[in-house]
């Protein structure tokens, strides 16, 4: 492995002109076609919806503090968990890493001036906003009570809430994902800098290529499903309601054909972030680079043929169930390849426990638990026993929160100095990462036990013997909430008072670290050339590392 020189000159301050001060005023933000600014717009919007979805989560946990349904009416509780799911999945998790961090970093990583279609990129944010506004309108008029899965015929015939408004909101928001997916795929194909070959691409890019594939192939199927639901609800077209001659299981097939791959839309970008962080802070190339890259593609492809595991008890034939069970277990292979390769990357690495690394290590542990319990659920025998219990709830929260969200926060901490040009305080960021890890496990681990003991999901009351574990879970949720508020505070603080980061505070390899922080309006002063292999890190103890070590991180 060849060694490289790093720019170690101390930075006197922020660069004079960068994308943030290239133009001023509200209009310069709302009409921007700069991928970096659109990334920021997404970052702000998804943070808002994360907090809103979090408020619903708090309400749910408070209700479940006591066995009796004493805080809210059953109908209200149905709306609470539905809105929590809808907001968190469609308006936070799915756009989170791709639309916010990916938008910002992908063109920088491949040495491009922008994404291939900057106007389409802006349009995608407006689609997101319109979809979100429709959902908010329904929310202010009482919310929806169908669960985020909108199962028919309840959603099309019996629910007395604003199902159509939220459905149309999700339909419109789907275009935001499709536009982003098309943009990323074309950008990765056509906009790479000279020398940036496919196998020199950072694994974050591979992960986003796989994610975009799912967005482009999966989202339109959800879109047409929503159209059919809306036609049935508004015009009594009998596609899914048995009373009108339709088949409700057909809805489940169509819905999960998108919504299972959607889980991989959430987790794949996170895996991309983790590959970046692990390599940067173990100061080693990712072990088995090509395997990790193809594992992303493998997960995307296999992810499309496993949806039937959501229908094990929905009148699907036993043989179909068995096939889907086997196919589902196949997903574990590329997932395990990734986990093992990250572990092998850490092996004999010069590990630095920076804040992003805290999140990355947390991700590996939590994702492994989430993935292994996923295998349990893929086993039809166990699934029949625990389906629709808190075991399932705990499993997918380990993937979505322990996996996707930890990756998102890790990535945000990793690229924050690039985005804003400033560092956040090391003590508080380490503390909050620890608090989040602790709070998360306390919230969701008891739910595995609750589910295994038979506590069903989506009920606002439960038998008294489940109370101790529920109290633990609610206590964990309170700790988790504190853990999420701390970064919000110090990130805002750092915008003004944070130490100037310089262009490469982590001494990381990659084109995004070779330009100024914050980057200039067109990303690079001149088109860079990728004349290095991916993750070409210099090994050695931290003291001898050729990069500037941030004091506040020490």
């Amino acid at each position: 492995m060849s060694t490289r020189e790093y720019d170690v000159a101390p930075d006197p301050g922020l660069p004079k002109s960068h994308y943030l001060n290239a133009a001023h005023g509200l209009k310069s933000w709302l009409l921007t076609t700069d991928h970096k600014r659109i990334g920021i717009l997404y970052l702000l919007s998804i943070t808002f919806f994360f907090l809103l979805g979090g408020i619903y989560a708090i309400a749910i946990r408070l209700e479940l503090l006591t066995p009796a349904g004493d805080m809210v009416q059953p109908d209200t509780y149905n709306r609470l968990f539905t809105m929590h799911g809808v907001l968190m999945i469609f308006f936070f998790l799915i756009p989170s890493i791709p639309a916010a961090l990916g938008n910002f970093v992908i063109p920088l990583m491949i040495g491009a001036k922008d994404v291939a279609f900057p106007k389409l990129n802006l349009a995608s944010w407006y689609m997101y906003l319109i979809g979100a506004s429709l959902t908010m309108w329904a929310l202010f008029h009482g919310g929806v009570d169908t669960g985020w899965t909108f199962y028919t015929p309840f959603s099309t015939t019996y629910s007395n809430t604003y199902v159509a408004a939220v459905a149309v909101g999700i339909f419109v928001n789907g275009f935001s994902g499709i536009f982003t997916g098309i943009n990323f795929m074309v950008t990765i194909h056509r906009m790479r800098a000279p020398g940036m070959t496919w196998f020199r691409l950072p694994l974050f890019i591979w992960a986003h290529y796989a994610t975009s594939l799912i967005m482009v192939l999966g989202t339109p199927v959800l879109a047409i499903t929503i159209v059919l639901v809306a036609l049935e609800r508004l015009l009594k077209f009998g596609f899914f309601d048995p009373a009108l001659g339709g088949d409700p299981v057909l809805f489940q097939h169509l819905f999960w054909f998108y919504s299972h791959p959607a889980v991989y839309i959430m987790i794949l970008p996170s895996m991309g972030v983790i590959s970046e962080i692990i390599a940067a802070f173990a100061r080693k190339p990712v072990f088995g680079y090509k395997f990790v890259a193809f594992a992303s593609m493998g997960i995307a492809v296999i992810g499309f043929i496993v949806w039937g595991h959501h229908l094990f008890v929905s009148s699907q034939s036993l043989y179909a169930g068995l096939i889907f069970s086997i196919l589902t277990m196949l997903v574990a292979v590329p997932s395990a390849v990734k986990v093992f390769n990250w572990m092998a990357t850490l092996y004999r690495g010069s590990i630095e426990y920076s804040t992003p690394m805290f999140y990355a290590l947390g991700f590996i542990g939590l994702f492994t638990i989430g993935g292994l319990t996923g295998l349990m659920l893929a086993t039809t025998g166990i699934d029949v026993h625990v389906h629709d219990t808190y075991f399932v709830v705990a499993h997918f929260h380990y993937i979505m929160v322990g996996g996707a969200l930890m990756g998102y926060l890790g990535g945000l901490h990793y690229w924050w100095p690039k985005i804003t040009g400033r560092m956040y305080p090391g003590f508080w960021s380490h503390l909050s990462a620890g608090v989040i890890f602790l709070g998360f496990n306390l919230t969701f681990f008891p739910q595995f036990i609750l589910g295994y003991l038979g506590m069903p999901r989506r009920y606002h009351a439960y038998p008294e013997e489940f109370q101790v574990l529920n109290i633990l879970s609610t206590a964990g949720a309170s700790i988790l909430a504190v853990g999420y508020v701390i970064p919000l505070v110090y990130f805002i603080w750092s915008l003004k008072y944070g130490e100037v980061a310089g262009k490469n505070p982590w001494g990381a390899v990659g084109l995004e670290w070779q330009t100024a922080s914050p980057p200039p309006e067109h990303n690079f002063e001149e088109i860079p050339e990728a004349d290095f292999e991916p993750y070409e890190y210099v090994e050695g103890p931290p003291s001898e590392r050729p990069y500037r070590y941030s004091r506040s991180e020490a």
Binding site: A22, D34, G181, M185, V186, L217, V221, I224, K236, L244
Partner: protein, 223 residues
Amino acid sequence: MSDSSAAAAHPPGLAHHFESYEQQKHSSFLGMWLFLVQEVMFFGGLFVVYVTYRSLYGDAFAAGSRQLDVMIGAVNTTVLLISSFTMVIAVTAAKKGNRKWIVYGLLLTILFGGIFLGVKYFEYGAKWQHHLVPGPYFEWHGEGVGRPVEIFFCLYFAMTGMHALHMVVGIGIMLFMLRPAWRGKWTPQNHNFVEGFGLYWHFVDIVWIFLFPFLYLIGLATH
């Protein structure tokens, strides 16, 4: 946020973030094809629903199909194929930089697209009069049970409706293309928009090529 100095250094019609016309062209075509892939998946969902119910209610679908006028469907298919030909005229003219024929090609395409939609309007009206629109107003006096036939008409309206919506959007875009086409915006170096739109129009055409037999012709064989 295009930087004026960077834009000045760039040839006309080349966006600031592209290095060459070549790169711009390949990017827009790849983007367009990916968009069409997305469209295939969108209509694909509808076709899955169609296949599911047709395999369950084959006879009812044939009976429902016989309520449609094959002649009108065939005429409309021809009209749509001609509109694809006139679209090719516009695209070829754009390649040669012949702005007059871009406009003529677009106008003819709008005309034939409009004829198709007009015929569709009268077809829909006839279905309403014959109580064949699904919902409370639906009545079935033919052979067999009414519900499965109603599902056939649910699919008929959903599929042709989605197809018509795509045509309306297409005609709308063409109306917006007329002015820049007349002013000579598209040159032999850069006419990606016209060519990309041509792909879209042909795609919508191809969807109809599937809809016509699936909806109009399945009744003939089993009669």
